[in-house]
């Protein structure tokens, strides 16, 4: 099936793949923000995950070791942000920006020897029996790689976890009203540390998809703003893991659409096409705020987002 010289099935299949790193990063950020910690270091964390994933795979030859390295590196670097925002209670915005600079610089410095080397093993397609042969949806959803399936499963698991389990309720309580959570005997500090690290690990995982699947090699600044897109998608998704899927695939769709248009020999300058994903993300954000302004939808932002918690503070 083709439209304007673009194969629609292929377009949708690459949409899913292009949206996966952003989906993982958005899920990680949702965990951070649900606990009340704003993390603007996503861009830096994704880069750290991307490099760690590459180095892990390059050294051992196994993508799964790469994935593990990325998870650990993401959590390790996120712990800096956790220390600054939770223990030292500094401005979360500035700490996040510092984390982005730090991650960008660290990966540029450490990654230099790896530039130009191909990732030895990458994620290949895994066909789901029976479903993969289904017309139309088969190639789009069921001939993807493991990480696509894992990211989707994670989105559903996190939805269940956040809304249907006791620890999920505690997580939301810490983000909405830490004083209440504290009086219920939940350690705000421990909870926040845990979710900043867990979220960081997921963002790192999202970054690793860039070097292990999307573009199988390490490049300086390989994330190219995807971390910032994830920051925006959290708001678009209303801090809801399932809506994050929609947001991430919308972004992925725009990204693969501009690639397909370029490949189809469009007259539009590729520079304008490359702007589309960023403009779409901004438009999505504007739409959400416009609807909130029109009173059609309440903002779902955790009430204590960005506010450091200190027991003697009166709320």
């Amino acid at each position: 099936m083709t439209l304007f010289g673009i194969d629609i099935v292929l377009l949708l299949a690459t949409t899913v793949a292009a949206g996966t790193p952003v989906l993982l990063a958005t899920l990680g950020a949702i965990l951070n923000e649900r606990a009340g910690v704003l993390n603007l270091g996503l861009e830096g964390l994704m880069l750290v995950g991307a490099l760690a994933g590459f180095v892990g795979t390059y050294t051992t030859g196994s993508v799964w070791v790469g994935v593990l390295t990325a998870l650990l590196a993401g959590a390790a670097v996120a712990s800096i942000h956790a220390y600054f925002t939770i223990t030292l209670r500094v401005q979360q915005v500035v700490s996040g920006l510092a984390l982005t600079l730090f991650g960008t610089g660290l990966t540029a410095y450490l990654g230099r020897p790896y530039i130009g080397i191909r990732t030895p093993e990458t994620f290949g397609p895994v066909n789901i029996p029976l479903l993969a042969d289904a017309p139309f949806v088969g190639p789009i959803l069921f001939k993807q790689d493991w990480m696509v399936y894992i990211s989707l499963a994670l989105a559903f698991a996190l939805y269940f976890y956040i809304y249907k389990t006791r620890p999920g309720l505690q997580l939301r309580a810490v983000g909405e009203s830490p004083a209440t959570a504290d009086s219920m005997g939940i350690s705000v500090t421990r909870t926040r540390y845990f979710y900043v690290l867990a979220g960081g690990a997921l963002v790192g995982l999202g970054g690793s998809y860039l070097t292990l699947a999307s573009n199988p090699s390490w490049l300086e600044n390989i994330s190219a703003g995807k971390g910032w897109v994830a920051v925006a998608l959290v708001i678009f998704a209303g801090w809801h893991p399932l809506r994050a899927i929609l947001g991430a695939y919308l972004f992925g769709g725009m990204e693969s659409f501009q690639f397909s248009l370029q490949a189809a020999g469009s007259d539009i300058s590729p520079f304008f096409l490359k702007m589309l994903p960023y403009l779409l993300t901004l438009a999505a954000l504007v739409l959400v705020e416009w609807r909130a302004k029109a009173g059609r939808r309440q903002s779902n932002a955790p009430a204590a987002l960005g506010v450091p918690y200190l027991r003697q503070d009166k709320n």
Binding site: L40, G44, I80, F84, I86, T87, L88, R89, V90, Q91, V93, V94, S95, L97, A98, L99, T100, L101, F102, G103, T104, G105, L106, T107, A108, Y109, L110, G111, R112, T189, E220, A224, G225, W228, V229, V231, A232, I235, S269, F271, F272, K274, M275, Y278, L279, T281, L282, L285, V286, E289, W290, A292, K293, L310, R311
Partner: protein
């Protein structure tokens, strides 16, 4: 602060005192506080460089060689220092841009994009009018750069003022958009036909070049930066509008109660901020490159955030820190000869910002507790 003074008055003069209390009192100059306030950023810098030195050591580089090379290329001799000043010019202007916005807690992370907007508009003027405007060329380019930067910053400004769209994200996303637009122009319509297909515009007519000091590359932009610093300093500290911004930064609710027009001020602040960053972009194309080309900015707009924060939004501090960081950016070019990515400079910047934040957090405690042991305990264990 006002409350403090009022309570001080109340305590020195009881209600029935025959002597009327002075209405305003100067705060006593606190030497200890000032000394610590100055020491903290210096200590932050030292700690940041020590930590990064450790990273260098662990990755098989000699930190002393790297740092002395960096120092030589930044402050080693007159020429090096001149080049450092050249790098400091856009940092002063973008640092002021960021500081104006930050003073009202508007997180304009888009100084980089507004810098490009200014550079593009100035280039458009230079390429369109060639030398036809004579001595007016430079003023028109400056105006175009500032207006363009202001307009680019007004997009997130309008979105924030009317729809409450988070300006951090919008300014950042727009950075990518304008950088791509600049690429489009230098690869497409503005490409120099005689440029051997390199992505750059033709060289401007000399009327569009900012004059330089002596035979250095230091250009008139330095004066723009210093004048802008004075203006921003006066506006923020001695005008009613500056006071309104401060109130907005401390509490939007209080500002609303005081009848401050928040929407108008958000728009004005973003425009002011964007204009300063746009002027920085104009200075770079007109004073240094004399054309638009790739790699116009090694991330001035982001370094500006650290400059502004390290200077605690104080304009004199911004000029000083900008020179220091100009040296850092300048030394980034020397890194390549040592086989180190120029991204190394970004790493140092991130580390400095972290240590500055930590220093501030611990300093805040010092004012309250005045007990070093307790502060160290806080740093390690958090405040219970």
């Amino acid at each position: 602060m006002l409350e403090q003074e009022q309570s001080a008055n109340a305590s020195t003069s009881p209600a029935n005192s025959p002597v009327p209390a002075p209405i305003l009192r100067r705060e006593r100059f606190d030497w200890q506080r000032t000394a610590i306030g100055l020491l903290s950023p210096i200590l932050s810098l030292v700690l940041a460089f020590t930590t990064i030195g450790l990273v260098l050591f662990l990755t098989g580089k000699n930190p002393f060689t790297v740092y002395s090379e960096m120092y030589q290329s930044a402050f080693g001799d007159g020429n090096a220092f001149a080049d450092t000043l050249v790098q400091a010019i856009p940092l002063i202007l973008t640092g002021l841009a960021v500081a104006v916005a930050f003073s009202t807690r508007l997180w304009n992370i888009g100084a980089e994009g507004q810098f490009f907007a200014g550079a593009l508009a100035a280039t458009a003027v230079a390429l369109t009018f060639k030398g036809n405007l004579g001595f007016l060329t430079i003023p028109v380019m400056m105006l175009a750069g500032m207006v363009s930067g202001a307009l680019w910053a007004l997009i997130p400004g309008v979105l924030r003022a009317y729809l409450n769209v988070n300006e951090i994200i919008s300014t950042l996303l727009l950075n990518y958009v304008i950088a791509l637009f600049a690429d489009y122009l230098i690869y497409g319509p503005w490409r120099d036909p005689k440029g051997f297909n390199f992505p750059l515009t033709p060289t401007f007519d000399e009327a569009a070049w900012l004059p330089t000091f002596g035979d250095t590359r230091v250009h008139l932009g330095l004066i723009f930066g210093l004048v802008a610093a004075v203006i921003v300093g006066i506006v923020l500290s001695s005008t009613v509008w500056g006071f309104e911004l401060k109130v907005m930064g401390d509490s939007l609710t209080a500002a609303r109660y005081a009848g401050i027009n928040i929407v108008r001020n958000i728009l004005l602040v973003m425009a002011f901020s964007g204009a300063l960053a746009g002027l920085a972009g104009m200075g770079e194309v007109s004073g240094i490159a004399h054309k638009l080309q790739q790699g116009l900015s090694p991330g001035y707009g982001f370094t500006a955030i650290i400059v502004a924060w390290l200077a605690r939004l104080n304009v004199a501090g911004i000029v000083l820190v900008a020179i220091l960081f100009g040296g850092l950016v300048n030394s980034g070019y020397a890194m390549k000869s040592l086989g180190i990515s120029s991204g190394f400079v970004t790493l140092i910047q991130g580390a400095v910002l972290f240590f500055v934040l930590a220093g501030e957090a611990l300093l805040r405690r010092f004012y309250y507790q005045q007990d070093l042991k307790k502060i160290l305990a806080t740093a390690l264990l958090g405040q219970k």
